[in-house]
């Protein structure tokens, strides 16, 4: 049976892994390669690296670490942040990443998703969506890597994710901004609503604070994977313990 994926997310800034609360106040969490190896050994199913400065700064970011990560780990990984054209994506995939994830550039130019899917196959193309609940609606936000540049986009989340799928996305990561970094649990209502309108895999992001939050998100929303950062980086939830717990709750995981 296809198992539910546990995905540590490593926010990368200037070549180090960092973590902020609701996208602010970034703290140093360690070396990229050390953390990548640690999570692989602990049983992570996949890793996501978000270069959180890249998209909003509009500059080319040093991604020499992608190749080094690809050399040492033997599980799949995805790279996000600052991928603005097909050549940017090609370089990262050629360096050994399995998937690339785009967010703000896809909002600027939705056809970019189709270009990526046509060039590399949709299985490589992940679209990240930062979404916030406002007055009962789910709204997509843009340039969330930098608080001073974050803006509300014109898109409602439920229509945007369907469009993204139609344009060629092979997977969607939904980051629920109200929940991010506050460890109160995933946004179950929003994730369930998004899961119901999609046929591609959906990954939940934002809000994990306890083991039972993972159980809830898998049981109640049908998402395919759950992404988290600080609870893994801090060691608060060891991945192996989490997977044993989920298995004991009859959720299929790879052990």
């Amino acid at each position: 049976m296809l198992t539910k994926r546990i995905i540590p997310c490593l926010d990368v800034k200037d070549g180090r892994v960092v973590k902020g609360v609701q996208f602010r106040n970034h703290r140093d969490m360690g070396d990229i390669l050390d953390l990548a190896q640690r999570y692989t050994d602990e049983g992570a199913d996949e890793l996501v690296f978000y270069d959180i400065t890249a998209s909003s700064d509009g500059r080319t970011v040093d991604k020499s670490w992608v190749r080094k990560v690809a050399q040492i780990i033997d599980i799949p990984f995805c790279v996000a942040g600052g991928i603005r054209n097909v050549d940017d994506a090609r370089k990262i995939l050629n360096d050994g990443a399995d998937k690339i994830s785009v967010n703000s550039p896809a909002l600027e130019r939705p056809d970019f998703i189709t270009e990526l899917a046509n060039t590399f196959g949709r299985q490589c193309v992940v679209v990240g969506v930062d979404s916030r609940q406002e007055n009962g609606n789910y709204i997509v936000y843009q340039y969330t890597g930098d608080e001073t540049k974050t803006i509300k986009s014109k898109h409602e989340t439920l229509t945007w994710v369907q469009r993204v799928q139609d344009l060629g996305a092979g997977e969607i990561v939904l980051n629920c901004m109200n929940q991010d970094g506050v460890r109160q649990g995933y946004d179950l209502n929003q994730l369930k609503a998004v899961r119901e309108v999609l046929t591609v895999p959906l990954i939940a992001s934002g809000g994990a604070g306890e083991e039972n939050h993972f159980k809830d998100v898998f049981e109640k929303t049908g998402v395919d994977g759950a992404l988290a950062a600080s609870v893994f980086h801090s060691g608060q939830i060891p991945i192996l313990d989490l997977k044993c717990y989920l298995k004991s709750q009859n959720i299929q995981v790879r052990l």
Partner: protein, 196 residues
């Protein structure tokens, strides 16, 4: 020494790095003579069947690959290419293993592509030495080869399909052994040691 067909797929670097981790010498090639004379050949592949067949045609590699007698391992799309025909782009393929590759259409509300770790029941074959029954492998695909006479590993996504195939010197994995942890590495290691 392994020769990896440089078919332009996005997983080539991952395959090369996985062989590096096993301390196995490998080189990339699109040269028919080199591939024909290689000790072992890996045919990686990510993308569409149509694009991959066009690429092999352009490189004049179709007859070369069909005529190989040394161990050959197709990975992901590279495995699918070994079959006769794919619904993906309505394209004739290498026809080394008889059968058709079909579009995944799970009956229930499962997602497409089939993406993530799934368990495989394995049969006895040298490629699968020391691979425990029901090991998990990493899959990413929207098309599949149904179970057939040459299936040596079966996975289920609503319906059973070929996760691993073998016919004479030709072998193939639908999953990505280069990204499937220790069991994936074991399969690559077995391939580098296989005696026909």
């Amino acid at each position: 020494m392994i020769t990896v067909v440089d078919s332009g797929g996005a997983n080539i670097a991952s395959v090369m790095f996985a062989l590096e981790r096993l301390d196995v010498a490998a080189s990339l090639s699109v040269n028919a003579d080199e591939i024909f004379n290689a000790e072992r050949v890996i045919l990686p592949g990510v993308g569409t069947a149509e694009a991959a067949m066009k690429q092999l045609q352009k490189l004049n590699l179709i007859e070369c690959i069909q005529s190989l007698t040394q161990p050959v391992l197709g990975i992901c799309l590279g495995m699918q290419l070994l079959f006769s025909y794919s619904e993906e782009g309505d394209v004739d393929m290498l026809d080394i293993i008889p059968g058709q590759v079909k579009h995944l259409k799970p009956a229930s509300n499962k997602t497409i592509p089939h993406m993530g770790w799934n368990n495989v029941s394995v049969q006895f074959h040298p490629l699968l030495n020391e691979v425990p029954e029901e090991s998990f492998f990493y899959f990413v695909h929207s098309y599949y080869a149904p179970e057939c006479d040459y299936t040596i590993g079966t996975c289920n996504y609503d319906d059973p399909f070929s996760a691993i195939v073998a016919k004479d010197n030709f072998m193939g994995c639908q999953f990505h052994p280069e990204r499937s942890g220790k069991v994936g590495a074991q399969i690559l290691k077995n391939f580098t040691e296989i005696k026909l």
